[in-house]
């Protein structure tokens, strides 16, 4: 029975408490703004890392793989001789189509200096020489112009790259060193890494870089996701070659580690520090809330209300303020940053990569959870103080 009466008391005191909240509006607003700031900052910083990771993780599908030289961590530092490429392409686990044959694209990866449209400074744009199978291995859709023709100095540009750099419109010319390339199309790679790249014919690009028949990596589509283990075992045990085989997803996820790690680290430190700052403000707010209600609380106690419900009412008020602040902050982060286009450096390949910020539901939940926790802790000490108020002296107070 006492449980119900306790619950009832708690409800009554809380309701009374919230009804008088308007009287403490100024101080409460400050606490709400502080909490909104914490959540907005935490969520928006982490959304950068989430966006970068999503771009990397979306790249590749369960049945695609990348083959590089053993010991290489990135295409940039890998080199595959023609014989290696032949061995890879012969692997029985690779899917085949009548038109193209083995769905394997032996690619060359270079970096070229282009001018960033936003800052006017140069940036390392990735220029990738591909083979026809590449279209069947990656997400790829022409959205403007046409694909490049084999054997010609033509490039197609990923949509993120087209927005990022100056002078990459369809029909314009691109002078790289002594070679002139025509830009013939823009493609959509569905928010994956190739969106930031320029693609051309590997057979045209390699001689310009004096690479002859060598390539840097082979991308393949396997007959099924399960075929990966057999494919990897097959190639890594072949005595003729020394190769490294990775799932494409795994390869790109690894590449964003450094940068997203740095961002998550910064986000965590700021979110924590700011949270502590907001916690102190919340504590101050709740202490003055309790102080301004001293007589009210004492009256309730004198009427027979127990300490527990008083504690709960203070905690509920504190957490409610935190929740309102948190929701406000989450909304600011979502509307301010979700989908924001940015670019950064992929250190492993020394090349620029574009991505969009992502305010995910998980991040929103994290932000709100942190705000609630701060609200709970912030209300705890003032609540205990409210419970311990000696009734007689409190009633006497003004």
């Amino acid at each position: 029975m006492w449980i119900f009466s306790g619950l009832f008391q708690a409800a009554v005191v809380t309701a009374l408490n919230l009804r008088t909240l308007t009287g403490r509006l100024a101080a409460s607003t400050v606490a709400v703004v502080g909490m909104a700031g914490v959540v907005a900052v935490l969520v928006s910083v982490l959304s950068i890392a989430a966006g970068l990771n999503a771009t990397m993780a979306n790249t590749g599908s369960p049945d695609t793989a990348i083959v590089m030289r053993a010991g290489s961590d990135a295409e940039m530092t890998s080199i595959l001789m023609h014989e290696d490429v032949v061995v890879v392409k012969d692997a029985p686990e690779i899917a085949r189509t009548p038109a193209i044959g083995s769905l394997a694209s032996a690619e060359m990866f270079a970096v070229v200096d282009l001018i960033k449209a936003s800052t006017g400074t140069t940036a390392n744009a990735p220029l990738r020489g591909v083979e026809p199978a590449a279209y069947k291995i990656r997400k790829f859709k022409m959205i403007k112009g046409r694909p490049f023709e084999t054997g010609r100095n033509e490039v197609v540009v990923g949509q993120a790259a087209a927005a990022e750099y100056r002078g990459l419109d369809v029909g314009s010319q691109l002078k790289l060193g002594q070679n002139v390339w025509s830009i013939v199309g823009i493609f959509d790679a569905g928010g994956t890494v190739p969106d930031s790249e320029l693609w051309c014919d590997a057979g045209v690009l390699a001689p310009l870089y004096r690479r002859g028949n060598s390539r840097q990596a082979v991308y393949v589509r396997l007959t099924s996701p399960e075929a990966f283990t057999a494919f990897k075992d097959h190639l890594t045990t072949d005595p003729r070659v020394k190769l490294k085989v990775m799932r494409e997803q795994e390869y790109y996820a690894g590449q964003s580690q450094v940068m997203s790690g740095a961002i998550v680290f910064i986000g965590a430190v700021i979110g924590f520090l700011m949270g502590i700052g907001a916690l102190f403000v919340a504590i101050i707010t709740m202490y003055s809330a309790v102080a301004s209600r001293t007589r009210e609380i004492a009256t309730l106690r004198a009427l027979g209300f127990r300490g527990g419900p008083v504690v709960i009412s203070v905690l509920v008020e504190s957490m409610l303020l935190a929740l309102v602040g948190g929701a406000l902050g989450a909304a600011v982060a979502y509307f301010g940053f979700n989908g924001y286009q940015a670019a950064t450096m992929n250190w492993q390949n020394m090349s620029s990569i574009g991505f969009a910020f992502r305010v995910t539901p998980a991040l929103l939940a994290l932000g709100l959870g942190w705000a609630l926790l701060l609200g709970l802790v912030g209300g705890l000490f003032p609540a205990i103080r409210a419970m311990r108020l000696p009734i007689v002296t409190a009633l006497r107070e003004l």
């Binding site: 928006s44 970096v111 740095a262 961002i263 520090l273």
Partner: protein
């Protein structure tokens, strides 16, 4: 001085509030210290890069190599006082996550070019004499516990040796320190001669040139003269000041850095705003007390000063402690290999102190003015 006890009493009128306000200010300024450190880290030393040094890279991109024969032609260009070649080695020490830059150079030339890398004379002598010798920055040596005389194995990812192995070994002959706060103390330098004689391919090619010029204001003309010398050759060049070069790199890491910075700045100002409000609230609450003081004969000016000093005291103590703590803690934050070692730049500490005073003033001035204008009768009546 005689007001000190009064001030003290006022501050501890509500002990809990004063302490938490102090802590909130402290946290805000720790955040400020962190912001300054991040700013410096993402800036990649742009402010330290010189205008009297130029960087010449292959026109297509930095990953393309330049012939080492360019060196003499660069040195002979009018306006150029010195030039050295550098190459990206890109090796791995034990684990790919242990990243630091390794660069084969001509030791004497490199030390001439970068006077900000300070190497004791005996170590310099030992390094120059030892063809397999290397020097490393203090930070990297400390990170991996290297001592002078250690043998350092580096796995090449790009440069194979003539015997097709990827294992390069170096003798650690010296550890350099940076002349200024923020100087890069992570790099690893070794003999270009050893590198060139041992490598399997690319012999006679280098990554980029660093060029010193006599007059920084002539940089654009000299850069243009250098590039025109190599125009229409298989390896055309692009020369910029070191500052512009570093800036372009920093811009690539990018607008992310800018956004992170603006977000932290926003965080800082929110905390500041909230804290200022809380401090102002504390004065507002005491309106009747201030009226009593005035009744006792305190002048308007004195009341104003009293309130202002109080808020400046809270801001000052909290802010200076916060800046101090961030100065102590930030360099010890383990960044792994994510960011360069963090430090709070001295210039930012000055700005921080100015902000501390600003906070104290802004938080105090409005309630203080109100207190000053207070009519005793009204104030006493209010309660």
């Amino acid at each position: 001085m005689k007001y000190l006890p009064l001030l003290w009493r006022n501050l501890f009128r509500r002990k809990v509030r004063t302490i938490f306000t102090l802590l909130a200010v402290l946290v805000a300024f720790m955040l400020f210290g962190f912001l300054a450190a991040i700013e410096a880290a993402f800036g990649m030393g742009v402010e330290l890069a010189g205008n009297e040094r130029l960087v010449m890279i292959h026109k297509v991109s930095i990953i393309q190599l330049l012939p080492e024969s360019y060196l003499e032609r660069i040195r002979a260009t009018p306006g150029v006082t010195d030039a050295c070649s550098h190459t990206w080695f890109g090796g791995i020490y034990q684990d790919p996550k242990n990243f630091f830059m390794q660069i084969p150079v001509d030791p004497e030339c490199m030390l001439r070019m970068y006077p900000e890398f300070i190497l004791p004379a005996d170590q310099k002598k030992a390094w120059i004499a030892d063809q397999q010798g290397a020097i490393v920055g203090r930070a990297t040596a400390a990170k991996y516990g290297w001592k002078i005389g250690d043998r350092i194995p580096i796995q090449a990812t790009i440069w194979r040796k003539k015997d097709n192995s990827t294992n390069w070994e170096f003798n650690l002959d010296g550890i350099y320190t940076g002349a200024e706060q923020g100087t890069d103390e992570t790099q690893f330098y070794f003999h270009y001669k050893y590198f060139d004689e041992s490598r399997l391919f690319g012999v006679g090619n280098v990554g980029w040139y660093v060029v010193r010029i006599a007059n920084a204001s002539k940089a654009p003309q000299i850069a243009a003269a250098l590039d025109s010398q190599f125009a229409n050759s298989p390896a055309e060049t692009k020369t910029t000041t070191e500052k512009a070069f570093v800036q372009a790199f920093a811009n690539q890491v990018g607008n992310i850095a800018l956004i992170v910075r603006s977000i932290i700045a926003m965080a800082f100002f929110i905390i500041l705003l909230v804290t200022a409000n809380t401090m102002a609230e504390a004065v507002r609450e005491r309106t009747s007390e201030l009226a009593v003081l005035k009744t006792l004969g305190f002048t308007d000016g004195r009341v104003l000063a009293l309130v202002l000093v109080e808020s400046c005291l809270i801001a000052g103590v909290g802010g200076v402690l916060g800046l101090g703590i961030s100065g102590l803690i930030v360099p010890r934050i383990p960044t792994g290999n994510l960011l360069p070692d963090l430090y709070v730049p001295k210039g930012s500490l000055g700005l921080g102190i100015a902000l501390v005073l600003g906070l104290g003033f802004v938080a105090g001035i409005f309630p203080a003015l109100r207190a000053m204008r207070l009519r005793i009768v009204d104030a006493l009546r209010r309660v």
